[in-house]
Symmetry: D4
Subunit: 248 residues, 8 copies
């Protein structure tokens, strides 16, 4: 409708209802956004078919439910990350098709099953304790329209499990590697595939893991040149970037 406003100003000026100065002033006062500088976030979420996402942590069940309800009118997928059971129960009261993944801590409303990614994204994780983060990535990939393959519990101290699946790895267009403790897995995977690898350190570990710092530093210093890193436990973020790459 801003476009209409501009046309109106141009028209009014043309028809002499608006002096040049007044037209200029009214043009200047138009909201910034309306001058063509689009809300990229919005773009990305809605026009490109990405799901709408809510960060559940710290929100009440009521708050989460209300946001989900307001979104449920349109036909996009909806994803709540870092969600808990209480939030899910309250959401399901309003939106019965909502699904909960207790391991990934996600609530998903899936309205759009379109596959938008050009290839497959693989999620690899090191230990069983890394599964919540790996699953958050996998759920996010699914709801964002990607074909996904997962390979869990393949730590670097048991290389054979990893090497046995090298064929599946080589098929992926993007690989997400989730690991805590020493965070070595992305380097090893990075050396086995030529696809971009997105490394997700997890806060899994104790003592000198310092809440994921050890894994984070390990991944940043990876000797493999196809590895980039996201924040500790940020399975969602890794999946978002992987989705973008999978569409380019």
């Amino acid at each position: 409708m801003t476009e209409d406003q501009i046309r109106q100003i141009l028209n009014d000026h043309r028809e002499g209802k608006l002096s040049g100065d007044d037209a200029l002033n009214r043009l200047r006062k138009l909201p910034f956004e309306d001058l063509g500088f689009a809300n990229v976030d919005h773009h990305r979420s809605l026009r490109q078919g990405f799901a709408e996402t809510i960060f559940g942590s710290g929100k009440s069940p009521e708050q989460v439910a209300r946001i989900v309800e307001s979104m449920a009118a349109n036909q996009h997928n909806i994803l709540v990350t870092r969600a808990n059971t209480e939030q899910f129960h309250r959401v399901r009261d309003s939106v019965p098709e909502a699904e909960f993944n207790s391991l990934a801590r996600t609530i998903v409303v899936r309205k759009d099953q379109t596959i938008r990614g050009k290839g497959s994204v693989m999620v690899i994780s090191a230990g069983t304790s890394d599964l919540p983060v790996a699953e958050e990535a996998a759920v996010t990939l699914g709801v964002m329209g990607n074909t996904t393959d997962t390979l869990y519990d393949v730590g670097v101290a048991g290389l054979h499990r990893l090497l046995d699946r090298r064929d599946r790895m080589l098929k992926a267009r993007v690989v997400i590697v989730v690991a805590g403790m020493e965070g070595a897995l992305p380097s090893v995977v990075g050396g086995l595939v030529s696809a971009p690898v997105i490394a997700v350190p997890t806060s899994v570990g104790y003592g000198a893991s310092f809440g994921g710092l050890a894994a984070l530093l390990g991944m940043l210093n990876s000797c493999a040149s196809n590895v980039t890193v996201v924040n500790i436990d940020n399975g969602f973020g890794a999946a978002m970037v992987a989705s973008l790459i999978n569409r380019v």
Copy 2:
């Protein structure tokens, strides 16, 4: 030639020269690599048209020159990163077409001008002190066969410089953002484009920048969901990942 060895074993067994047990044992003893588990690194560098890369730091001019010479026989591009003038002079003695970029600290031997990337990669940097890292990324992108666009000196405290170039940004298939100090630029750029953003913290700054730690932490905590991060000052690594994404 390993393939030949295997065929030989199969043949010898067929012809009865080798018992089943002996064939089995000889198969087991074949070098791992030869059993089809290729050297991915090698693959990547050579078969995929990537340049061969040498990390110059800590190597003598003689060492660098000898490595470059041995590579110069084939027709791949050659890239020396973290190079200095002494290394360059020594390399040029052997390989006269070598070129030095003193800002990027790179030596390049460019034999292959093929553009392999599907789109353009943009390199954006915040301050003039970030230029060496930004240029390392730009040179690497070039030598790896990408079309490159650069946008330098567009710090977040002067947004208009950035916003004025939003059209160029939107054209990039991948964006590399190089910034020191508070490392805020990738978040801002991440919100303006829908392409994947690779953030490179630099060690530029003083006091509480702690050698790039402030920028690194800022980028890892980016509120934009299309940002991944590489190590401090790792312009080369960012360009490698960008090249991979630009080819998928």
Copy 3:
């Protein structure tokens, strides 16, 4: 009354009741404070019309209530920060006009509505999770006698929301910017206004935010030259300094 004591000493000496030595000795023994070296804190709070402030954290409801009661006799505003519901209920029993802001975690007794600030102070915050700290600042600003404007949820990854309100920003005499995660917002705002910007890092975030450290370092390294920083989550402190600047 110290002044009276000094006059008495002078008098006694004049009238010969006190020798020179005795007068000297008695002068020396007067309490330090009484010799004109005023309690600046007291000054600031009471003579300059600032509210009396209580740090609620770690105090029992009974303790908070008793302090508020003892202050309620005079006509200054009273502010309890980091307060909880129990403290509020107990305070309200004694001082019925007390008001609770559960988001800001503040109890306020507002007796003095005088506006003492010369201009307006704006509070800008990045994400919804930063609201408690932003509101603590806003409540403090109000109770200290400032006109306040707030602009919430304008993170750097969605610049248009920020740019749209540039007029309101430019009107502020001082700007407080509250942000967690990468802490980039103060740099961006600092580049858009010429007023002093007080940056408040928040402990909002996870993983490599390290309890607000990432935001704090980001703000200290701001490339905008009008930014100063207070402690993590210190909305109150930012508002105090802003109030001082707003009165100079």
Copy 4:
């Protein structure tokens, strides 16, 4: 001249030379900056009478000299921070009135002696080793048009030196406190004055001072509520903010 462009578009549309759609498109393509979204930095430096500033560190004498020359045409003051003797000699060749302060490491070209600050800014420093940072602040304050008072070598372990000058402190409209080691001085000064205090930690110290970290943390945790903090050794930044406050 952008205004002219817009008027032209409006005119052309009015006169029928430009269809509504074409006018709309041309309006959208105007450079962002020209649409009234001014370069605040520029504003601040030039229209508000601030000096133009160059960060000398890492620039060659030639580079610094060329920038100073290009600025010397107009009548603004020019400030080079973190400058060295070589840079100064080269600058003086082109701009003979340039002055060097070797302690502050500043080159100043002073063309405009106007006092723009409404009051006086005081710079207080703890030890003799903090002087370079304190002097950087003092020089900056001068060149930005402030009346300045300095009080050096008044560490908290010798309080009497500080207390003796309380009258001078109380006269300042803004106080900058520069301290290394334990960084306690801003808290003490903050309790003695009611003006805003800008604390500058310095990298002075050894051992557990960790390059100024101890002083920085001390200042951020100040128990005085009128203290804000800038980056370690950032005397320039403190003076910039003080100048802004001194003009409001």
Copy 5:
């Protein structure tokens, strides 16, 4: 009784019951401790009139009570630090004269009222939140036989409260200074007295206090040359060292 053993060996050798070699071997096998290398800890606690001390944290009420009972037979004072109410109730069942200080979190059985310190030890603390640590120091000082003076709530931002009591400070033979946040108080006190100052950082604070790290670093970097430091929250340790100094 070891002495008796040695005499016996000497005797047996003298009387020919033991050859030289056998005497030598038996001497070598005597327990190390018995050869005069006393248990210094024991010495200190018991012969020098120090109280016996139990670290209560992590022990069950039953465990604490049993240890106290076993000690209560002799006439030394007994001190339990980091104690809780449950431990106290259980101890009092067995040792009715036990006393609990809930602020200091100490249980004390006082059998020996002898004053062993040569002078007085002063405990100074900065804020009300530092009181548990200050009181732990004060209680320990008392039970170790020292005359004690306390001066609480005298933070560096309100110097007059401190300066007013300078006479009391100057009388102390040793001064313990307890402070959290910026930890500046020991430097200020250190500059006012010539006695040794033992600084105790506390974990009081939030944000960039990092659990007492800011205060600890501040104290280690003190510009006053009569300050030494103990661990964060270690009121007991400071009092032990002060007791030793007070007896030399």
Copy 6:
């Protein structure tokens, strides 16, 4: 059975059922593991007589019980570390011979009493709070088939207790030293024995122990040249390495 597969391929080729190319291809596709590259982990645990180990932390009683049940069929020892009472009760329902050590937080099913270590391993610990980690090491050593000696509560501030037992120390083939706080004990023990010393820092302490960091750094910087270090609180890991050394 992989061996059988390879023999089959060889056979088929011999008999002409499989061309050379097909044999080659089928050989390439065999799972990596089956080509003789054994699962070392498995080897270690089972063929070498090590117990099977489960990390109990974060697993439900049901999960732990199911894993133990599935292992209980064979005759290996089973060890659950970081176990709790609930897990034990549930395990005991299925495997009545399971034993719980509440201090070590271990569940053990001991089927194999064979001593496999060639000598004795000693576990030394500094304070009573280090006992859980020391006991985890001792229990692990036992279940892995080692003769074990323990020496607890011998902190460096009471050297005589340590020196008195030097004979027992000298008999050990490997020594594990568990210590929190300053972590000095491994250096002292390292100087007293010539056996390899494995140092285990514990998270015991408060304030500047920073969760075991102080002890960890102390041990890494040990001036004794026979000391290596494992992660904070990793009694299990120390015992595993000690078991390996004890068998070489």
Copy 7:
């Protein structure tokens, strides 16, 4: 002479030359210091017979020499710490009796040989690399009037060297322990003596010693209750506190 000023004011008032108000005002304006609030630093250095001290680091030979000259008039000892050869040569030109200790990096002018300490202070150090700090402490102790005993190169990995000298240790009234690397020596010494122990961490070490951080943390977490700590490499500070304790 301030006393005279006060007497004059009293007199003038008595004689009617000064009204009560004027006397009051003039009393208030007297310099703070003159009102009896002495310069403690000065006191300590000069009246108590302590040497005057100059921190040489960062000062030019000329600056050091001028300060020493100006002090050399009176009869106090003079100590320059962190001094270098150039500074010494320049000082000796003016003050021929100056002596240089190149290991301790001290210049000393010894005019006063009085022993003021009541007992002996012992300096113990761990390794040969700790000697500069240990010697700085020893030289300072001497110039401050203490009897000193030194025991060098007695690291905790060779306990016998330490234990052999236990008699000398037990004679000391205060013990300074200097150690780098793991910083364990103060704990061991603290358990062997009942005197107060002042621990000085040194920056000796590499890798995870992090410039003395490991030793510092170790000492702060000492399990011996008679240990306090000063800054890394602060031999001077330890000696100052030891001198104070040795005089009480």
Copy 8:
């Protein structure tokens, strides 16, 4: 000769020359060491055939040469670590058979070629920049009497190089793994062998490697249970422990 002293005391007592009390006293005064509490260090170095070791860093060529000369009389091997060319030239003047390894920075005087280790020790390193540390370990192993195998330049991003040599790895009795950057190699090797693995982090890397901290943390958090860790760059220490294990 101490033994003689004791015999003498026993004799004198037997012969009545010494009373029981006097004998007791004289026994007590004997030097600690002489009472059988041997200098373990000495033992280890000399009786067990270990080389005598000198830490060259920070010592002058003259100092190193003098120490080497004094040792060269006996027939032990001598090892100088962290040595430089100057030290070597000076040593060779006195001890012509001394050899210098410029990569390992070691000077070796090899007099004893005895192999004392029971098996072979393997040294594996990740990158070419890790070679100095790996070589320090290898040289130390040799001079301490071990058979050594080395496997260099086998980073985890090129697994095939590592996997190809698995046979050699499996033959080692102890494995030392040297790696910088992410420090992942020990985990991978640990999973491939059942021997104890000693991990040596190196300071190789840049940016977020923080001088080896990333590698150190990675190794401490290794998911392989046969890995222990030594200090950053401590190739010597790893070799010492490996030598001990190789002899048990």
